[in-house]
């Protein structure tokens, strides 16, 4: 029996545009995220994965359907209430890192904590701890302009995990990175999910990232078309460059049809 989902979307429909230009980006999507699970949401461009991520992240309101986050219903909330929900339950990692160029790595992470109302001392301590956790203990004072792409994404991950939110949503976290850095980031996200029982959902269209996930959800034309669970025997390659995944061949997964969550 699986634990109660930390984030659950039911029959989510999202219509974009108006009049004759109106399109249904999401068509009755059901999805649940569980503690300690690293989930990938995969699909081609225009499949609706970013729209779904925005709705799961309380950044976009669905046309219909329900969303529950940490046991709280998210539907029909004001913008301020949604911001409050994001503060309390969600951490974000962006494709373009979205770091503040005039702030050091430490201050970028501190800002994410300051927004949540942590005290100045707590901000500093937690930010440093988070950066050490992602392997950037030696780059606390570095500015984004002096960091490599992989380091920037690590700072973004530190910013997301520092407040210890139960859910972390990542948008194409490896898209701007080379293979080695991409794998390192996925390894880190996998570790983040395992630690403290966080639910991590990453949107990606990169098949090389599949070996790191506990679950892969496929979406196409606004519909969840499949869900695969990681095979117990799957081994995450130590050096992804030499792995099958590095050549786009996904590790064995047990195909599962879309099904209701336990």
């Amino acid at each position: 029996m699986r634990a109660f989902p930390i984030l659950e979307a039911r029959q989510i429909v999202k219509e974009l545009g108006q009049g004759e230009g109106k399109v249904q980006a999401l068509k009755s999507v059901d999805l649940a995220l569980h503690e300690g699970e690293f989930t990938l949401l995969m699909g081609p461009s225009g499949s609706g994965k970013t729209t779904l991520l925005s709705i799961l992240g309380c950044l976009l309101t669905p046309t219909s359907g329900t969303l529950t986050l940490g046991g709280e219903a998210v539907t029909h909330r004001s913008a301020e209430d949604l911001a409050d929900l994001r503060r309390r339950h969600l951490g974000f990692i962006f494709q373009s890192y979205n770091l503040f160029p005039t702030l050091s790595a430490l201050d970028n992470v501190r800002l994410g904590l300051d927004v949540r109302g942590f005290s100045s001392r707590e901000c500093k301590e937690r930010a440093a701890e988070a950066l050490i956790e992602v392997g950037l203990g030696h780059r606390l004072k570095a500015y984004p302009g002096t960091l490599s792409g992989g380091e920037k994404q690590r700072v973004a991950i530190a910013r997301a995990i520092a407040p210890e939110p139960p859910v972390i949503l990542a948008d194409e976290p490896t898209a701007a990175l080379d293979t080695e850095n991409g794998y390192a980031i996925m390894e880190l996200l996998s570790r983040v999910a395992g630690k403290n029982g966080r639910a991590v959902l990453a949107v990606t269209h990169d098949p090389r990232t599949v070996p790191f996930a506990d679950r892969v959800i496929e979406i196409e034309d606004g519909i969840i078309t499949g869900e695969r669970k990681k095979h117990a025997a799957t081994v995450i390659p130590a050096r992804p460059r030499q792995s099958q995944a590095a050549h786009g061949k996904a590790a064995p997964y047990q195909d599962r049809k879309r099904q209701a969550h336990a």
Binding site: S54, A83, R86, R87, F92, N98, L111, V115, R159
Partner: protein, 354 residues
Amino acid sequence: MTLIGILFAVVLLAVQLGLYLGARKMIVDTIDHAGGDIWIAAYGSNSFEQATILHGRERFAALSVPGVSAVEPLVASFAPWTRGDTSTTSVVVVGADNGTLSPWNVVEGSVSALSPDGVAVDRTYADTLGISGIGAVAEINGQRLRVDALTDGIRSFTTSPYIFMSLAKARELLSVPSDQATFYLVKVQPGVDVSGVKHALEKKLPGTSIFTNAEFRQTNLDYWLFGTGAGVALLGGAVLGLIIGTVVVAQTLYSSTKDHLAEFATLRALGSSSFYIHKVILTQATVSAFLGYGLGIAVSFAVAQASLHTPMPIMLTPQLAAMLLVVTVVMCAVSALSSIFKVTKIDPAMVFAR
């Protein structure tokens, strides 16, 4: 760019308001230094420089009013000053005795030992009057005068320099009979109510205008600043500076906010409240205000310093500087409103569209 906008606004405001304060001081300086409590002037008089002659009987009538301790005649009028090269310029002749409206800030010579044809002038107007210093000679209405004393900082709002001399000399130059004057300055006995004496004088001297010192100051200010429109122009310039400054600062803050919309969207996505983002923008505006003010007030002080020895000095007082700081902060806060309005409409979902 934001700082330049604020600097520009602060300097414009400081210069315009400094000129306004300078103008006020020029207008009332002679009244403040006259040393009287009540002014008796010809009916309808509204300025120190343009009053007509009183008959003379007013002095004795005023002396008979209880509470009056002294009544001193004073002559003041425009007159033509003829330089050594025979060219002329307009001046204001001021004649008084017994310490009434004696020139102040004397920097050269002595006003206590003015020769019968001696005058005191301000050195600011040396070029205008065509004088080289003490001992220089000129003429008014064909009568020779000698500069016996030089003052510093006694300026005239009308741009016609004040020429201080004895009462007798002024009467002689202006053909005023020896029992007549332009004003009678009444000194009230210590402890006596000035407004009570003023009312008694009004009853005693119908057909004249009686002012307390404060009323005469205000009458002069109203006439020169607002009757002539000069003050309106100066204040209008200050208001214009405030409007232009606000618009420039608002525009630069707005474009800065627009340039950083993605960062604000990130903050919003991370869960920051609207209040938090507004605080960021207002902090940015306030920091800009203090930096811009610091630069602007430094430039303004330099401009004011350079104007000290000109006929139109800019008076940058500590009170004006403090008021400008408040105005600058308020101006920046108001300017930040357009940015706040823009950020209020931000869509946090744009973080995934970059």
